[in-house]
Symmetry: C2
Subunit: 213 residues, 2 copies
């Protein structure tokens, strides 16, 4: 705990971030007022302004926390590249992780917000660059395990995968009536198709295939 900061503050900050996450997902960023956030957190405006200069700063803090959690999650599933490999082969049809509704909504909110604020957009872009890099590594590894090599830069592949996944997420959220499993399956098949189409069997894989004959 930093000098001169009591253990009460991080608890308060956490409560505010939790409340904001819920409300931004429910109502959107622009439609959520600061007093509302405070009320949800069981605090008052004074607590808010004691911790953040304004709503934008809270939004950034919220994103930062979410990104950290997400990074942890990504690193945790990284070793489980086997599943991704089977996905690259188009063999795995199990529904992917259910879309995190709250996160997807807030993330879309943030994208819209960032598009209008170049400074914020720069932040978002730098984060996405990191994510795409990690994802590219994951993809390359998964392809390699199924004896394939990408025919385009792995980061381009990551871009496409992110695009189709995000687009599918939007559809899934909008069309809640549509069978979520069907939607997820469609998304997975699209990803698998892209991975296959922009890769080819590696030379090593071909050799071992020859050896097998």
């Amino acid at each position: 705990m930093p000098r001169g900061i009591t253990k009460r503050r991080p608890v308060t900050v956490g409560a505010l971030l939790d409340a904001a996450m819920e409300l931004f997902a429910e109502q959107g960023y622009g439609a959520t007022s600061i007093p509302e956030i405070c009320a949800r957190a069981g605090l008052t405006k004074g607590a808010f302004y004691s911790n953040f200069p304004n709503k934008d700063a809270l939004f950034l803090a919220l994103l930062d926390r979410s990104w950290q959690r997400r990074a942890e999650w990504l690193r945790r599933v990284m070793p489980a590249g086997e599943a991704a490999a089977r996905l690259a082969d188009g063999e795995d049809r199990r529904p992917a992780l259910a879309v995190d509704r709250q996160w997807t909504l807030v993330s879309m909110e943030f994208s819209l917000h960032a598009i209008r604020r170049p400074a914020v957009a720069a932040l978002l872009v730098s984060h996405e660059v990191r994510v795409r890099a990690e994802l590219a590594a994951l993809i390359a590894e998964a392809l390699e395990r199924s004896g394939r090599v990408p025919t385009v830069p792995a980061v381009d592949l990551a871009r496409m995968v992110v695009a189709v996944t995000e687009g599918a997420d939007i559809q899934a959220l909008t069309d809640a009536a549509a069978d979520a499993v069907v939607q997820a399956d469609l998304s997975q098949r699209a990803v698998a198709a892209l991975l296959r189409h922009f890769s080819r069997r590696s030379a090593q894989a071909n050799e071992s295939a020859h050896e097998q004959r």
Copy 2:
């Protein structure tokens, strides 16, 4: 002109819708106030409440007008399926229509809004079903022209194409720094890959291929 309605009203409505379109794209739906819309339109709040009961109603009217315009556009490019056919072949690399920034932003805003209002979501879904049906027809036609037939329902293909396109649009808007042409190219290549992967040469095409030999 309907009985008892002067020709002034549609002009006023149009001005309000134009102003709202601009402001929703610039600031978002929740962050845009009614007086702001009126000021941008060169009118006052009285004019607004004389034409719409509230902001939601104006949003719906705006979407309706945009959808009509979009339907006209889609029907106009429908006959130009040749380009789509070359795209399906992966031969056409020219950048697609530049992303309509305003429309994309407002459309995202609306999706987010709709997700939170089931009644509005139903409206959005019914519209998207129509769009996907038209797009599916366009895709099927394009594939046919290049002697191919889809191996999955054409509407599923339409879903994937919409997903990857929307996802790419978001990336393009967020990362304004990234070369827009590169981004559009990536999107086109992904679409082409999906179209190829989920279709095969048709029997007829095979026959004519045999004849050619």
